[in-house]
Amino acid sequence: MVEDELKPLMLASLRGEAAAHRELLSRLSGNLRVYYRGKLARIGRSATEAEDLVQEALMAIHMRRHTYDPAQLLTPWVRAIARYKLIDHLRHTRGSMSDVRIDGIDPLVEEDAAAGVESSIDLSRLMAGLPEKMRTAVQAVKLDGLSVAETATKFKMSESSVKVSVHRGLKALAAMIGREKLS
């Protein structure tokens, strides 16, 4: 990870600059993917599982970005989150390790899996599990790209209520991702 390049992106993302935020998450996803694949491959786990963790960590970085102290380095903060999520994941999937069938892993698919690999997390299914207000707000603001003001008008909500619903919705999704990948 390159501190000097990532930290300005993080500072911009804390100011609410969407392009910087996307760039940051996208750069970090590459690092996280290498990290998790390396760790999981050693214990015979799949690339899909690694991608689940990449997404869980990205979600955590996004939701917890207010805990980053700009006076400190960014990379140790990211590394701590990545490592925490890995340990948490391993601790809670220890029991299911025996379920991994060795013959079920196709080596060709495994090696071919580039950045485009999909996680086992089904976003639309998770979205369906959200309370209606949160789902509407997340769908409009985060997926359809409407502004908060547009969403508020369209669904006759106040702007602050839209913001709160989006925040709570993402928080709930993050929690569901944590549970989803265990099942």
Partner: protein, 210 residues
Amino acid sequence: MKTDDLIAMLGTNVEPVRRPAGRTLVLVIAGGVLLAACLVLAVMGLRPELDRSLPYLLLKIGLMLPILIPASIVLSRLARPGGERRVSLALLSLPLLAVMGLAIGALSLTPMSHWRTEIVGDEWIECLVSIPVIAIVPFATIIWAVRRMAPTDLVRAGAVSGLVAGCVSAMGYALHCAAESVAFISVWYGGTVVLCTLAGALLGPRLLRW
């Protein structure tokens, strides 16, 4: 789900971060001190003859503050991801060791035949029970605040949360406590605060998981 889709979603309409974490924790700890004091005054009452025993009250608070302040600073670091890299728990145990040193010093100045009355006193059990009980609510609110800051070393973050809650509680209890022996105060106040720390370390991984 493709990771790029997730990034696109998270990167749409990004809200600026209004309130950086950290202030809440300070407020929660300060609130805990107030709460513990009010609880003790309302339920147990202020100890009588305060003017005469004021030096002992000040001693009790004076023993706890040098633990509480560094512990709060350490906790505000431990609470953030990767914060465990930036703290030294050895430094934190220094004031605690000083309290223990004071206990040993006070005992060595007391004839051994008086040890029983000095340490055991009349109300050691009240002290031993009250401080952890009063600590429960401050502990719960501290844990809530720390969890929001996403700690990555849950045992240590839990232990220091327990330590802070214990100190906060001991300072409140001091308003009621009638003990007037340096040995008693250092043994039981120090001991219960250590107990709260251990409880925090045990509960941390369960309560702080995020």
